[in-house]
Subunit: 235 residues, 2 copies
């Protein structure tokens, strides 16, 4: 009887291959089987980050997701991907799943985790998130001492965004993309636009760090707005 | 005339040396001068994480902080540390500052950043935070899709904690330590204790991941409580 393989959910950071952890790099370099999602047949961003680490004989399981506005087709794609991964694990082979940023922080890995963690041994390797990468590139302390930080996805409706903006200490607005105009208007209305910084494609080619007021009208999907609290009086 | 050196604020992750990024490892291995804080003369946790990477000839600037309950002595320690670092930078030598977790996310690096960023070139290397490390060790998705996440320091007073607990989606309580009893009582009162997970010393020797109700009475400084939102219906 063969022991089952281990499912590794491996965070590979925000985009710069140098921001991969040593553990993630070693796991990917020695992997016989890797798996990663692609979106509607496009090239995989996750795979592009680690392309230099993938050995020539590595087997690649591609989980091709439809555009994620509808629930059932995405569910079916994760079901099919999980089934292929489960077959490898059952045969005693480890599978390394590539996850942009961190696997359990807004990562698609959680859909595989939900389908496989009950049946197989899972090890999650945390990664550098886009949030601290954006703060690093902007040179902007996110939170000090006893400040709270709230991370809010931009696609939420206006009233929910407004509530989070009002109750937050330091604030990070993620996945801004096509919601930039709406998010900017909400921050203006709450008197926070002056302190807000726009960061797009942190650590990647075409990176931009700008005061929010100078941000372009059209933001890429990988864009974020940081709104630090007032300067810490201890600084 | 000599060009001034670069100040590197380098995130070294939550504790496991394998969770250092490749960039941080390379900078530390090749550093002629490193700097790090110690607390009241104790051994430096940051230095212990990277001990295996520090070359024999490396010069070490130790910033010895008094216990951080009083403001002026800590300010004076950062002033003195910043002055020693500034002298090296002025002489054209780079300085690599070691930062547990991420430099700009509850990191003491921001005190050096505030003192030196106006005068010298600074490069911040983001690191894996203890938050995603705890989620990884607990096998617990922190946030999915359009959920918000609020990170709240445990030392805040009860009324401020209660407000954040009530307005948060997913919730992370950091720096729990001796505040564990108080934080637990607040979560009980809000009906959240059943979902809460206690994680201490994530990725380090003596790591613990337990349901909050099973957590010990006395928690170490490096402890955290994760309160995920209800399971995402997409999972």
């Amino acid at each position: 009887m063969t022991a089952t393989g281990i499912l590794y959910g491996v965070g590979i950071g925000p985009g710069d291959p140098d921001l991969i952890t040593r553990k993630a790099a070693r796991l990917i370099e020695s992997a016989a089987i890797i798996a990663y999602p692609t979106l509607a047949g496009a090239a995989s961003f996750a795979r592009s980050i680690v392309a230099g680490l993938i050995g020539p004989g590595t087997c690649e399981i591609v989980i091709d997701l439809p555009m994620l506005t509808e629930r059932e087709p995405a569910q079916a794609a994760y079901d099919a991907g999980a089934a292929r991964i489960a077959a490898e694990l059952t045969a005693g082979r480890d599978v390394v799943v590539l996850c942009e940023g961190d696997p359990l922080f807004y990562g698609s890995f959680m859909y595989l985790h939900a389908r496989l963690a009950g049946r197989f041994r899972v090890e999650v390797v945390p990664g550098v998130t886009s949030i601290t990468a954006c703060a690093a590139r902007a040179g902007l302390p996110l939170a000090a001492r006893n400040q709270a930080v709230t991370v809010v996805p931009g696609p939420l409706p206006d009233d929910v965004l407004r509530q989070h903006i009002r109750s937050a200490d330091a604030l990070v607005l993620m996945k801004v993309g096509r919601h930039l105009g709406r998010v900017r208007a909400l921050l203006e209305a709450e008197g926070l636009a002056d302190r807000a910084v726009y960061v797009a494609r942190a650590t990647l080619d075409g990176e931009e760090c700008l005061p929010l007021r100078a941000a372009p009208e059209a933001a890429p999907y990988f864009s974020m707005i940081l709104v630090p609290k007032e300067a810490d009086p201890w600084l």
